[in-house]
Assembly symmetry: C2
Homo-oligomer: 343 residues x 2
């Protein structure tokens, strides 16, 4: 039997304030407009009366739902759970909830999920799906939606973003390998339609230049996607080039796992014959054989940062656009060693 509904008016009466003031005090986004003692009194009154705001009714009136839509390519890619967790933690602490949609990098599916969320009047979007040029984003820009990018960025700087300094990450990998004495380095890159693919490739080139090493174009290959299968396929191609590379700077850990498979097929050992460096330091990559040397950064933190940026954007659609780049570090494990003699 539902009890009689407590209204905003009841809360305002108990707190001794105008209902408009009570409303502002009860909404996290507008609370700062109210004197802090008053806000506290209203919140206490709401607690006393067990008042529950009805966000659906409020969203009709204010066109806000305290909900953020999150689009990711695929939650079962181990990269994304910590990002989503960071987003959800940050939002939950501020009374927001996250709607989650997987797109499988399929434009049709992405558009469907996006429109489905939009029609539920989400206040903003966090996209982990951005390509460097992305029709969905053009549409979002035209409609002045609050959109923040996470992990990836786009060519234009129209959207706030939270990601890692991809170029620096690959640069660290090259510096580590050059320091071990490698001279013949290959790059197994990601798709060049994605900022992560481009940034990590550019970092490889810059790192090689800094180390005074020459890039052999035959030793650069790009995967069509970040998967183990693509890693194995492209690594097989790289291993056919003579003289053989002694190390591969790989744009992603899943690709690196594919390299392990290609090396095993070719009867080559890692790291004795070929060193491998991955990117992302994904969960459990320290437990594979050999434990992978990888470029690490906190995926949880870029998630939390993206959530912070989207709330900032929701509060002020015309705030300056911020791009946050986390600084990565290299975690050295057992997949890298000096090159073989004569290598």
């Amino acid at each position: 039997m539902p009890r009689e509904r407590v209204t905003l008016r009841d809360v305002a009466r108990l707190a001794g304030v105008h209902p408009g003031t009570a409303s502002r005090a009860l909404n996290a986004a507008t609370r700062s407009l109210v004197n802090s003692e008053t806000a506290q009194r209203v919140l206490e009154a709401a607690l006393t009366l067990d008042f529950r705001p009805n966000p659906v009714a409020r969203s009709l009136k204010t066109r806000r739902s305290d909900t953020v839509g999150v689009l990711i390519p695929d939650l079962t890619n181990p990269l994304f759970p910590p990002i989503v967790r960071g987003i959800e933690d940050h939002l939950a602490a501020r009374g927001y909830v996250a709607l989650i949609g997987n797109t499988d990098n399929d434009d049709q599916r992405e558009m469907r999920v996006f429109e489905g969320m939009r029609s539920r009047q989400v206040d903003g979007f966090i996209l982990a799906t951005a390509r460097r040029r992305h029709p969905l984003l053009l549409r979002a820009a035209e409609d002045e939606l609050a959109v923040v990018l996470v992990n990836r960025v786009v060519d234009s700087h129209a959207f706030p973003s939270a990601s890692v300094d991809d170029a620096r990450g690959s640069g660290l990998a090259v510096a580590h390998l050059a320091g071990l004495g490698h001279r013949r380095l290959a790059h197994l890159g990601g798709p060049q339609a994605l900022s992560t693919g481009v940034g990590r490739y550019q970092g490889f080139l810059a790192g090689m230049e800094t180390a005074g090493l020459e890039v052999d174009p035959a030793l650069v290959a790009f995967a069509d996607g970040f998967s183990q299968q693509e890693g194995a396929r492209r690594c097989r191609d790289l291993l056919r080039v003579s003289p053989r590379c002694t190390a591969v700077v790989v744009a992603n850990d899943l690709l690196a796992l594919g390299c392990y498979a290609a090396l095993a097929e070719a009867g080559l050992r890692c790291p004795e014959d070929v060193s491998i460096v991955g990117f992302n330091d994904m969960p459990f990559i320290d437990r594979v054989h050999p434990p992978l040397t990888s470029v690490a950064f906190s995926h949880y933190r870029i998630g939390a940062e993206a959530a912070r940026l989207v709330l900032e954007r929701i509060a002020d659609r015309h705030a300056p656009v911020t791009a946050t780049f986390l600084q990565p570090e290299l975690v050295v494990r057992q997949s890298t060693a000096p090159p073989p003699r004569g290598g």
Copy 2:
């Protein structure tokens, strides 16, 4: 510049039907009440006019939001992403979206997230957080909410659920080890407040009885949670018991990874000295060293099944309660071998 809003009335007029009929045809849950040709005509008219239903307005009227709340302990536990993916895929294909909340097995946080979703008028809940006795569920039952359990079940049979046959899974592990010649088997169990902990323990006991082996109570330990740390801690205790066990049936892969650490500390090899069997066959567990023998089932499928059940429940709150148990299988890898001589 937003164009003028297309209304339900416009769609009904173009399709030549009553607005009530158009409304029913446009809602997936009520579409079957309309003649299928009529439904198709209405949907085509809606496409032609680019009509977008406003779920927020509709949810105020119907108190439905075409949204399902999903509560999980922690998305960064590798078990849950495939479950959530299965849920989201099934829901998305039917026009529903998923709200995600992490609870960290913290009652306070769970209640906050639950209430936050409820106030957004979600149509139902899928909980991966159930303990065998769970206050939140009592409350949900009183309020006649559509609630479905995934992965875990509760002692009462009041809620539909999708999970694996836990007891059979452990039974398969015991049968495998007994077949290899092991006689002194240990069980590293999960928390006994969770159905997964109890079911896997009961399956161990039943499997031992079937194999004609005796259970040494000193060789049974229960972890406080499903973590690597707990696995290492409890496995250390088990290894102190003399004579030593030659195999451990472990209730979860993360616990099993903890066992690997404890074995290494004690200077013991897996599988030469002690065999280990895990449970869940989590992603990348085939890449650890040694690749883990584990009880496998499709987490994606129990997610999809839970989504199916919750939509069934939303459509009819008084439908009979269904509990689906997937049959697991054992994936044998390199963490199990015959016992050492004299073992």
